[in-house]
């Protein structure tokens, strides 16, 4: 039924009275594939082949003349061993930990805000939404730079703390705190917007019903509200976690050697470190982690969410 040769969609089939004779139309599968032709060609060359290239590089060896040397015949997994050895594994776990903590912080900051806008925003609801969208659409780099400006040693935060007698020589940059703060700040709008969309659609009589049936506040929150808005919550979690775990700008501007993440390490391997196969192997591992998250999402929320 999906590719009816007569080109009739389901709605047309249901229409009464029978539709008048119409001009010949190309079958759906021809039109559809024609419209998708530019996308297919573009993605084949600039997404699929480049990604396969990285997978191939991850199985190669560091070369002297060219960045990668292949020894065909046997697959070489040494780059994966190296990427997961005690030298680099902490970077892996640190990136995941930073992204997780930031995601949780975004839920804690974003959920009550989204709930308040959706339920109590009143006639200013759209104004509040624009206030969330503005940071969403302003430069991520510049927003991180603003934090660098505030958190640096002779920055605003130290001046303020000094002025109120708390000392003006604190170290904020290059700490776990700075990077997690930056990631949370950077991706918070990505959490609020899908959450808002879900909460706004929620039937508020569900909350009433829950109270009438004797549920308390906490019970209503966890057993009625959160399950109902879970598609938005899961979308928000993925929209924060995925870019956060692979982020490069935040650890670069607010972090240092101690707070290196995936992004910086891969960047270095393609730059000063000059080890493309290792950088590729790390990228493949990162992609696998993210695809795992996506599959969990599809399994929970369903394919129509695509």
């Amino acid at each position: 039924m999906d590719e009816g040769q007569d080109g009739l969609s389901e709605i047309e089939v249901e229409a009464r009275p029978p539709p008048p004779p119409r001009r010949r139309r190309l079958p759906d599968w021809i039109t559809g594939n024609l419209l998708l032709l530019p996308t297919s060609v573009w993605f084949l060359f600039l997404l699929v082949i480049p990604t396969l290239l990285v997978v191939a590089y991850s199985l190669g060896q560091r070369g002297v003349i060219t960045p990668v040397r292949f020894s065909w015949g046997h697959l070489n997994f040494s780059n994966y061993n190296l990427a997961l050895n005690p030298l680099f594994l902490p970077i892996f776990t640190r990136s995941i930990a930073y992204a997780l903590v930031s995601t949780i912080a975004c839920v804690l900051l974003g959920f009550p805000l989204a709930y308040w806008i959706a339920r109590f925003g009143g006639r200013f609801r759209n104004v509040y939404l624009v206030l969330v969208i503005i940071p969403f659409l302003t430069s991520y780099l510049i927003r991180m730079y603003a934090w660098q400006f505030i958190l640096q040693r002779n920055g605003l935060l130290n001046s303020v703390l000094g002025a109120i007698g708390l000392g003006n020589d604190h170290t904020f940059l290059n700490t776990h705190f700075a990077v997690i703060l930056g990631l949370t700040y950077g991706f918070l709008p990505f959490m609020i917007l899908p959450l808002y969309a879900s909460i706004e659609r929620m039937d508020k009589s569900l909350v009433e019903a829950s109270y009438d049936l004797g549920h308390g506040k906490t019970s209503t929150l966890f057993r009625v509200i959160i399950p109902t808005v879970s598609p938005g919550l899961i979308a928000g979690i993925l929209l924060v976690f995925i870019p956060a775990v692979g982020d490069f700008v935040t650890p670069e501007l607010l972090g240092g050697v101690k707070t290196q993440m995936f992004g910086n390490t891969v960047y270095d391997q393609f730059g000063s470190g000059n080890n493309w196969p290792l950088g590729s192997a790390m990228s493949v591992l990162l992609m696998m982690l993210i695809l795992l998250g996506v599959f969990v999402y599809l399994w929970r929320v369903g394919e129509e969410a695509l």
Partner: protein
């Protein structure tokens, strides 16, 4: 009902105020200190616009600004056309392989910038053997913009009432006429929103651009990023303020036109229905 609510509005309101303060305080600080007279430090030493006038003579920054606009305009144009066609195919036609395309678009959306950056640099330098230039930057930007256009346009087309097309056909419109006079005007706000999103994302990109830019194709974010290696400076504050203001202006223009396009779309439907 408010007293019964699981989340009390009074605390929620306080929380909302604090989160909004958190979201905007750093931006405000940056803008304020771009007018600071002092060359370094964060103590206020008087109002000055000297950092803005110094930018006017900064050829590197001006060239980077021109490059940024060129890349964003061309990439948005291509990505909007390619992405809109794909969104039409995925929403208005049923055929085998649709979900494979959706998956591909989804993967490009979730692929970390760093991975797309290295894969494109590997592709351009080692596979296609082209020199990195502004063209490779544009090609890279088109690649990551397509998915955003598809997602936004698809959302608009999914909410679309197919009976309007039926009505047009019943009134004697050919499929092409129905597309031009009914579907396109209704989809226009979505296409416009998709283009705006692609434009802002292209304006902002650092990571993928840094892997695909060659000599002379530095963009503004790349320029700012490079300058930050030498530490914080007031002229970067000024440059950042200009970038922030431009995206606000862009947002306002976008909002204005999408409201207008939505009205015009509705108008076109009225005309079709009447004619």
């Amino acid at each position: 009902m408010s007293t019964k609510s699981a989340l009390r509005p009074r605390y929620l309101k306080l929380h909302a105020a604090l989160v909004f303060a958190f979201l905007f305080a750093p931006i405000v600080v940056l803008v304020v200190f771009s007018f600071n007279k002092a060359k370094s430090g964060t103590s206020w030493s008087g109002f000055s616009t000297r950092w803005y006038s110094s930018l006017a003579h900064n050829h590197d920054a001006l060239q980077a600004f021109r490059n940024t606009l060129k890349v964003a305009f061309i990439a948005t144009l291509f990505a909007t056309v390619i992405g809109t066609l794909a969104a039409f195919a995925l929403t208005r036609f049923r055929f085998r392989g649709r979900s494979a395309y959706s998956t591909l678009i989804f993967i490009s959306l979730v692929m970390p910038e760093i991975v797309m950056g290295i894969s494109l640099t590997a592709f351009f330098r080692r596979f296609a053997h082209v020199d990195l230039s502004i063209r490779t930057v544009i090609a890279a930007h088109i690649t990551f913009c397509i998915a955003f256009v598809v997602v936004v346009v698809k959302a608009r087309l999914t909410a679309f009432d197919n009976r309007l097309v039926e009505a047009a056909a019943d009134l004697g419109a050919t499929p092409f006429q129905a597309f031009l006079r009914v579907v396109l005007p209704l989809a226009a706000p979505g296409i416009f929103a998709g283009a705006m999103l692609a434009f802002t994302i292209s304006l902002d990109d650092v990571v993928i651009t840094s892997f695909t830019a060659g000599p002379g194709s530095t963009t503004l974010p790349l320029y700012i990023f490079g300058q930050l290696r030498f530490g914080v400076s007031p002229s970067i504050n000024a440059l950042s303020t200009i970038v922030l203001l431009s995206s606000l202006v862009l947002l306002a223009i976008g909002g204005y036109f999408s409201v207008r396009a939505a009205r015009r779309g509705a108008g076109a439907i009225d005309a079709t229905a009447l004619g």
